[in-house]
């Protein structure tokens, strides 16, 4: 029997106690049955890590005595895999990952646990979206949560192509100040990390990785540029990493490659 309400798997990379996931759950409960399976602690910048060498623990996470969801001692990718593979009694209609504190745009996308959880849903054949809020301070989650709910309804009705998720970034503005929605591409602007070299009390050297500074591309169709201008950015993201355009040229290299 088809349930009347859609069944949504909610996860994130900021951890199950993060306010962003609760704002998302509160909004999505208006239109759907939801189940939360999220990391038991912050797992930012874990990329597409999965846990193969350690046991994975799952505990019940409660807030003010109300059951919130399953807290997983693993990465966002682990959460989606173990939810679908072991914890849920039926297949979710969608995976919604977020709301992340901080944008996931440009090259950051490849380090993002938020996006990797949605990628995992996509790999499992479940339509998936990732939602991030472009701020680290004074977040206003509600507009992003309402937009996520709106996009869930659209994706449920239209579907997504195989192997593709939507990566959504929302400016941190009241709803009335958001200037629109734009379909974008992932920015490719380079990073400049710095390493802060220090000495600990036992005279051992250590480093902090710091200041992922971006020289943003100013092209209108780039994700970061939309966000900077107060526009919601939607980028279709796929997990086929093949550079098809370079294959003909590589085939031209083959005679030299084979002749050793």
């Amino acid at each position: 029997m088809k349930m009347d309400k859609p069944y949504l798997l909610i996860t994130n990379d900021d951890g199950i106690a993060a306010p962003g996931i609760h704002a998302l759950v509160q909004e999505l409960l208006k239109i759907a049955e939801v189940v939360v399976v999220a990391p038991d602690s912050e797992k930012s910048a874990v990329g597409h890590a999965i846990t193969l060498s350690d046991p994975i623990r799952v505990t019940c996470f409660k807030k003010a005595n109300h059951w919130v969801g399953h807290a997983v001692s693993g990465t966002p990718s682990d959460c989606v895999k173990i939810a679908v593979g072991a914890l849920l009694d039926r297949r979710p209609d969608m995976v919604v990952s977020g709301i992340n504190l901080g944008s996931n745009a440009g090259i950051n996308v490849i380090y993002s646990g938020t996006v990797s959880a949605a990628t995992e849903g996509t790999i499992l054949g479940i339509p998936s979206i990732a939602v991030s809020l472009a701020t680290y301070t004074e977040p206003i989650f509600e507009p992003a949560a309402r937009f996520a709910s709106h996009m869930v309804r659209i994706v449920l009705s239209k579907g997504l192509p195989d192997g593709t998720l939507l990566n959504i970034n929302v400016p941190n503005l009241p709803e009335s100040e958001i200037k629109g929605v734009r379909i974008t591409r992932q920015g490719m602007a380079n990073f400049a990390e710095t390493f802060d070299k220090r000495v600990d009390p036992r005279n051992r050297v250590y480093y902090w990785m710091n200041g992922i500074k971006e020289e943003l591309q100013a092209d209108d169709d780039v994700d970061d540029e939309a966000i900077k201008n107060g526009i919601i950015s939607i980028t279709p993201v796929k997990y086929d990493l093949t550079n098809y355009n370079f294959i003909p040229e590589l085939n031209n290299w083959l005679p030299e490659i084979v002749k050793k």
Copy 2:
């Protein structure tokens, strides 16, 4: 002054003590100056994780009293970032990641620390290749090391397109039994993970993620299929995850997205 020999940064995800990286270094020393900056322990399936919340330590790793390289308390991505950003006194001409024990093909590519290290080099604008050996048992590293060295010379002379690395998988065969080289695409066959549920001595439940089984695609141009047939696979991999083909259709959705 341009050095006569190329200067290569070598890393991996199996850790600085793994035999695969030593086979690679031994071979590349014949044609290049090399510096090894690799994780201090195994970091398989860490994907594109980077270490922002913990200090990163760097120690000297020696083998039989000979200095091998810098051992880093982080991920393969961290290794490339800290090598270029803090440890090396000049920019390497290439990044070579491997030789990984086990293939990195199909969907596995997105979980691969080996590939992510090469991606990191690519992001930094350094031509990069990842090299994996398609076995977990009784590895024969020498043919893969020699092929890696051959490809380093070709890439140094021809260059690679912006944002693209080469993901190389070598069958575990003596050189005389390798059947050729093929330019391939990343296979997209789905996974089927299982979760082995157990109870620990204190009666707490835990899970092992197990058996990433693949239903391989049998298409000739797929990475896994080449490897299975004893052929070296070279896939051009890029880190722009945008699904450009879906952008026009998403733009058709915009009126419905904007009308809330």
